[in-house]
């Protein structure tokens, strides 16, 4: 078995975000890392939409990311710290739309190790040096400079190592143009290590250490170190030099402290807390991320607490001495992994979990009633300030980037009866979790819908002048009239110059109502071509010669006029005789046929577009054009052909075919993200566009359209105006590049698993959160706090206190933004929800008691109770994760009643450990209780244990069954094959795996084969060899106790590894399914970071051979961006076996043309043939 890995949707969670002028223009961009992906985003300052310019998979783990700019430069570079043991400096090339690796310096071993640098990066604010640090001991400083040709240079590394030292955070201190300085949060553990009494360990303090790079002596010195009172978690650098007082802010538990050299005293301010917070008051509060905004005249910091509250931090200075830290509550947004404040006044929030947001900073919060807290205010030690959280006041949400991260569980099924299966994805965390239904298609946002007097047959848009940016009029054509709508304030009929085509001829109506008319010579079907040109004066000129065609003309298309030219080069004509001809429009050989292509059916519509060009604007601001010309041919049988049109000879080559729908295909040219695209309409509408050097043909998730045209206005620069029956619709397609459109239904707690009730198609979801209160406990605590408030008040304040308590009880801030109260370690809350997946409404909800955590769910029937369906939920009681302890568990049994809409409680069965896996098995159930595998039957008062196996190694995390075989996944020891012997009522282990795998999920591929994923991001397929005997017996001698004990004594038969592959993200669901109707089966996986991918089998040896060679050549010709070797990345934990990485192969399309040519020559093919092969294998299995 050989498999090919394809990513359907890349990871969506963000681990780092930096901003800067990466393309070298005035515009600011954001670079985000998504684990192993580097992505460049550009927020459009006019519309506030965030566009993705470039996504690159780097085949390595990005551990740190920083932007820097050389002194006096205008362009920012990107420094990447990864697991490659190398520091990499990247530059964004806007002309080629790619990241270029400028420097790659090797300094250590690859992998995420504790003493190999890469975990922390800090740059000197003036861009003169960069420090890369490991978690322990090693720190390297590179000096950055420019050479005579103004190219960036990098020095050899300077060491700043200190043994026995742990590093928590590193920043570059802004010291102006003095020697570059770096501040580190460190801890020296040498003494603690050598003191057996443990006294030193208790006294070890964290230190703030400054490292100075002496540019004159070219070495790094440990300049100054100071022990800290509180344990810091991160540092914020304060602008220095001419911009501010310099120094650092240390964020620690409950406090933020300012520190600097010299006479500067420490300034310390407590972190304010929410008034009447349900959280444990003993719990400390920390800042988790920050963003700095600096202009010429001022600077401030935005820092976010772990509850999501953002504070604006300002410093008061007196002659370069900081005298006061001021904090002001700004707003509350979901907890972020990173924040960026842009010059245009946007705040980009890369959420820790769930969707990311772009906010407009509408107010700086300077002049409102919000109290400002200051370090100068006298407070007792341990006391703090309080504030009242409120809905957004200073920020305005402008854009939301969908993120599935984290995906906890996914099932693929056609529950909505739509032919194409949907993906039901349980994602999110805590109160921000949701169940999302993903469907293949592009999301359409409807900007306007207006009814028209009749059913129009066509619509166009025109500009007032060719140089106008926006369209001025929409022209709607009816059978017997033309309606002109002006875009803007007055939408009504307008008269202006236009060309009317009617059955007998053409009428050119000019603005002053003069009419030029041209009548066709007699009534006949079109077999002649007449060519008109409009001269600069607006006169319509007919070309003297006419072209006779051999058959009736059904459709035509003119290419757009290339910039700087008078006319377009080609005309494509589709004829009744199933051919398309390309005709020259060059004045020298006007109307001469150039080429012809036969078609499988009659053409319906043609469209010549220029696509695939990466260059959108060159340095002079002129629109460049290095894309290819494509002729799109829509056939009457619903097929779309895309053919490359040679820009010189007009030859047609490299045809790609795709079936779109049952109706004839109509094509329309539209603009999408500055490039041309084709809207193809059949029974479904599709958009064919080029996005990040790959062609996408994606259906629109919208109703059937009849006619469309591109549309540009101020509000919607790249829209579409379309007709659907008697309505005119203005649509926008904003999420280009997205494969799925999603519908989200909110959930209360983190969804862990769900099952589908096969009769009603309802979902039964278990949601469980650690560190959370149940609704009942929350209400109780609230009540208790309200009572305390009243009691604490003095006699005369009673009434006021009661009022406040009532207000507090009524206050209801949405937990999805403000977060749920944190209940503390070992506190669990769970619900069981029955949900209709189509409407998304909750049909039934069972709240479990506080500290009952649901871990497993199954829906099944028992052979002794007939046709009733039962839901079994495995619940742990009082589970403490670390150090692990559990007070036991229960299996709740519910009967599904009301057509699977209600849960009727039957009984609960106590068990000794966590029941983490339940699977129906031969009319009974198999339950994994800790390490015990048991068969239970339904009893009257509880489930009855019928059989047990105690030989599973650690903890059963999943159970799959097929026939008499049971495949148990252990949390640490891979798979164990068990056979149930009915006549002896025994579960006997007969085979296991030879590798330790920390299995997260598994899926059976056939009777002997199982696919599994582990928590380190690997997918494997293991198979029992053909001579496996599953009829082994237990040792009959009875001296088993002596010999059979011990974990090393595994089963005698071992599974064989069929394939191994490192995905790079933890895979939490695997399913064998078909994604497109009529497609072949593939193994679909979803990852914790929100990615969705598939593994597809090769059907022929030639294909496998071909892709193996593509992969091999790309590994050498196109090595990964951050310096990690591709083969070693894919072999991170187990050597990669029998899998070809399609993500790498598809990077063929983004290689430079000459390299593409080299690689394809090696393969005895042409570049279009290779990319066609790549496209074919993708469309055969998915989208």
């Amino acid at each position: 078995m050989f498999l090919y890995n394809l990513t359907l949707q890349r990871a969506t969670g963000i681990s780092f975000a930096i901003h800067g002028n990466f393309s070298g223009t005035k515009q600011q961009e954001i670079v985000v890392s998504r684990g192993k992906i580097l992505e460049l985003l550009r927020p459009d300052p006019n519309t506030g939409k965030v566009h993705t310019l470039l996504t690159v998979e780097v085949f390595g783990v990005i551990r740190s990311l920083m932007a820097f700019r050389l002194t006096g430069g205008t362009k920012d570079y990107i420094v990447v710290g990864s697991d490659s043991g190398r520091i990499v400096i990247l530059e964004y090339q806007p002309s080629k739309n790619m990241f270029e690796k400028i420097h790659q310096e090797t300094f250590g071993k690859s992998g995420c190790r504790r003493i190999v640098p890469g975990q922390f990066l800090a740059v000197d604010p003036k861009g003169r040096a960069v420090m890369i640090s490991a978690i322990e001991k090693q720190k390297l400083v590179y000096i950055l400079n420019r050479d005579a040709a103004a190219r960036l240079t990098i020095s050899s590394p300077l060491e700043a190592h200190k043994a026995n030292t742990l590093v928590y955070h590193v920043v570059g201190v802004d010291v102006g143009f003095e020697n570059p300085m770096f501040a580190c949060l460190e801890m020296d553990y040498e003494e603690a290590d050598n003191d057996p009494t443990g006294e030193a360990a208790a006294n070890t303090q964290q230190t703030l250490t400054f490292y100075e790079l002496d540019l004159g002596l070219n070495h790094v010195v440990r300049k100054y170190s100071e022990p800290l009172e509180e344990h810091g978690n991160f540092l914020i650098t304060v602008p220095g030099g001419s911009d501010g007082p310099s120094g650092v802010l240390i964020c620690s538990e409950n406090y933020i402290t300012y520190k600097n050299f010299g006479d500067q005293p420490d300034i310390r301010c407590p972190i304010p807390r929410r008034r009447n917070d349900l959280d444990d008051p003993e719990r400390g509060m920390i800042f988790v991320c920050s963003a700095t905004h600096k202009t010429k005249s001022m600077f401030f910091f935005l820092a976010q607490t772990e509850q999501g509250d953002i504070f604006k931090i300002t410093l008061e200075t007196d002659e370069d001495m900081v005298t006061e830290i001021r904090l002001k509550y700004f707003d509350t947004v979901p907890v972020a992994a990173a924040m960026c404040v842009l010059k245009t006044g946007f705040l980009f929030v890369a959420s820790e979990f769930g969707n990311h947001y772009l906010y407009q900073i509408a107010h700086l919060g300077d002049d409102d009633e919000e109290p400002e807290f200051s370090s100068a205010m006298p407070l007792e030690e341990g006391d703090t300030f309080f504030f009242q959280p409120r809905p957004l006041k200073n920020l305005v949400l402008v854009d939301e980037l969908d993120s599935l991260s984290p995906i906890l569980f996914c099932q693929i099924a056609d529950l909505a009866n739509e032919d194409t299966p949907q993906l039901y994805v349980a994602c999110g965390r805590g109160p921000r979790s949701s169940l999302r239904v993903l469907r293949h298609g592009l999301e359409v946002s409807e900007m306007a819908v207006s009814e028209l007097p009749g059913n129009p047959n066509a619509v166009w848009t025109v500009r007032r002048h060719i140089e106008d940016e926006f369209d001025a009029y929409i022209i709607v054509s009816f059978v017997n009239a033309t309606l002109v709508l002006s875009i803007g304030e007055d939408c009504g009929r307008r008269d202006d110059a236009l060309v009317q085509v009617y059955p007998d001829g053409i009428r050119h109506i000019r603005a002053d109502k003069r009419v030029n008319e041209w009548k066709t010579p007699g009534k006949k079907t079109i077999v002649k071509l007449v060519y008109f040109e409009m001269d600069p004066s607006g006169q319509l000129n007919e070309y003297t010669e006419r072209k006779e065609m051999s058959a009736d003309v059904v459709c035509m298309s003119l290419a757009n006029v290339p910039p700087g030219e008078q006319r377009s080069r080609f005309l494509a004509v589709g004829l009744v005789d199933n051919t398309v001809r390309i005709i020259s429009l060059d004045p020298s050989d006007c109307l001469q046929p150039l080429s012809m292509q036969a078609l499988p059916a009659q053409p319906e519509s043609l469209c010549i577009v220029e696509m695939g060009g990466t260059e959108k604007q060159d340095e002079l601001g002129e629109r460049g054009s290095i894309g290819f010309l494509y002729l799109n041919i829509g056939l009457q049988n619903g097929v779309l052909l895309r053919t490359v049109l040679d820009p010189v000879t007009g030859d047609l080559s490299d045809t790609r075919t795709r079936y779109l729908g049952s109706r004839p295909v109509k094509l329309f040219r539209v603009r999408m993200q500055g490039q041309e695209a084709v809207l193809a309409m059949s029974s479904r509408s599709w958009l064919s566009y080029s996005y990040q050097s790959r062609f996408h043909l994606t259906p629109l998730s919208y109703e059937t359209l009849e006619f469309a045209s591109g549309f540009a206005s101020e509000q919607c620069p790249e829209g579409i105006v379309a007709i659907s029956t008697n309505t005119l619709r203005i649509l926008a397609l904003e999420k280009l590049g997205a494969v799925f459109n999603q519908v989200a239904f909110p959930l209360q707690y983190t969804p862990r698993k769900f099952v589908i009730h096969p009769e009603s198609n309802n979902l039964i979801i278990i949601e469980t959160d650690h560190n959370a209160y149940t609704e009942a406990t929350k209400a109780q605590r609230k009540q208790q706090m309200a009572e305390e408030m009243v009691e604490a008040a003095g006699e005369d304040e009673r009434e006021l206190a009661a009022e406040m308590a009532a207000a507090f009880l009524n206050e209801n801030l949405p937990e999805s933004i403000f977060g749920a109260p944190k209940a503390g370690n070992g506190q669990w809350a769970s619900v069981i929800r029955v949900m209709n997946p189509i409407q998304g409404n909750t049909l039934d909800l069972v709240q479990l008691e506080q500290n009952e955590a649901a871990f497993s769910v199954a829906v099944c029937r028992f052979s002794n109770t007939g046709d009733d369906w039962y839901v079994l939920v495995g619940v742990a009681k009082d589970l403490i994760l670390n150090p692990r302890s559990v007070a036991g568990g229960f299996v709740y049994t519910y009967k599904l009643v009301n057509n699977g809409e209600k849960l009727e409680y039957l009984h609960k069965t106590p068990v000794e450990e966590v029941p983490a896996a339940i699977a129906p098995f031969q009319g009974r159930v198999l339950i994994g209780v800790g390490k015990l595998l048991r068969v239970y039957d339904l009893g009257k008062k509880k489930l009855l244990r019928k059989c047990e196996n105690k030989h599973i190694a650690n903890y059963i995390s999943g159970i799959q069954t097929i026939g008499h075989r049971v495949i148990v996944s252990d949390v640490q020891e891979s798979f164990i094959w068990v056979r149930y012997k009915r006549n002896e009522n025994q579960l006997i282990i007969f085979a296991d795996d030879t590798y330790p795998r920390w299995v997260t999920t598994a899926s059976l591929l056939d009777y002997d084969t199982v696919a599994g994923a582990d928590k380190f991001g690997n997918i494997c397929v293991v198979r029992l060899p053909p001579n496996t005997n599953d009829e082994v017996d237990e040792d009959p001698t009875g001296n088993k106790a002596l010999w059979d004990r011990g974990l090393l004594n595994g089963a005698s038969q071992k599974a064989e590894v069929i394939m191994n592959y490192h995905v790079g993200e933890t895979v939490l669901s695997l399913q064998k399914t078909t994604l497109i109707p009529g497609g072949s089966e593939s193994l679909v996986y979803t990852t914790l970071s929100g990615g969705i991918g598939i593994l597809v089998p090769f059907t022929s040896h030639e294909d496998h051979d071909f892709f193996q060679h593509v992969e091999m050549h790309l590994r050498s010709e196109h090595p990964p961006l951050c310096g990690r070797d591709h083969l070693s990345f894919r072999s991170y934990y187990f050597p990669v076996k029998n899998v070809i990485d399609g993500d790498l192969c598809e990077q063929f399309n983004s290689m430079e043309p000459n390299k593409q040519k080299n690689v394809s020559e090696e393969l005895d093919r042409t570049p279009p043939e290779v990319s066609k092969k790549l496209e074919d294998i993708r469309t055969r299995y998915a989208f």
Binding site: D937, R945, G963, N985, N1027, D1035
Partner: protein, 230 residues
């Protein structure tokens, strides 16, 4: 790496040769004369004390031993000799040919007859998958406690109940076993046996069912459920 032998110690070579031959011949150990255990070891099914042996070689050695041979006589003395002789005239001819050479003709004959009657692929040969086991009684059957007479069944068929999704192996063996159809009463009895057995009832050898003490039952469940009336 090379497996070429060095040296000329003939005794060692002979030992190796013998071991190799032993390994090759081990596949002729009849299926019901040994049990393969969960941990890959083997138990001799002939000897009443069920010795467990770590490797095939040791099993072979054990099988050549005096104790084993005496048990063998005991074991086959219980069995009905010549069970499949009438149905298998051909193997009998083969037997006759070999008979002359055998030292213990009766014993060898009995053994060979049983073996041919069962006529299946060697069990322990890793190159061969056991596919066709017609009417084979599995080793487990010979293990005590024997079910009471009315439910004494070839459990080899029980295991091969054709069930959905049991895979190609099961289907094949089901196809093979189909020539000997089970009468409906017998099938009902069989089903009942399996149902009771899998829900934790144990036959006590006197025609009654007792509760397995490791299995849970409903508190009002004193007797095994009655067989359904047909």
């Amino acid at each position: 790496m090379s497996f070429k032998r060095e040296g000329d110690d003939w005794s060692q070579l002979n030992v190796l040769k013998k071991r190799r031959v032993g390994d090759l011949l081990a596949s002729y150990i009849p299926e019901d004369e040994a049990l393969m255990l969960r941990d890959g070891r083997f138990a001799c099914a002939i000897c009443p004390h069920r010795p467990v042996l770590d490797t095939l070689a040791m099993l072979t050695a054990h099988r050549a031993g005096k104790k084993h041979l005496s048990s063998l006589q005991l074991f086959y003395g219980k069995k009905q000799p010549g069970k499949g002789m009438e149905q298998n005239p051909r193997p009998q001819n083969e037997l006759e040919r070999e008979e002359t050479k055998a030292e213990a003709p009766l014993l060898t004959q009995t053994r060979l007859i049983t073996q041919s009657a069962l006529h299946r692929a060697p069990r322990y040969n890793s190159c061969c998958r056991r596919k066709c086991r017609p009417e084979a009684s599995r080793p487990s059957v010979s293990r005590p406690p024997l079910p009471p007479p009315e439910v004494e069944l070839p459990s080899g068929q029980i295991g091969r109940d054709p069930e959905p999704g049991a895979g190609p192996q099961a289907e094949e063996s089901a196809a093979v076993s189909s020539p000997a159809p089970v009468s409906p009463t017998r099938r009902r009895a069989l089903d009942r046996y399996l149902t009771l057995r899998s829900s934790g009832w144990i036959p006590d050898g006197r025609g009654r069912w007792v509760k397995d003490e490791n299995v849970e039952f409903d508190s009002d469940e004193e007797e095994p459920p009655e067989p359904p009336l047909v």
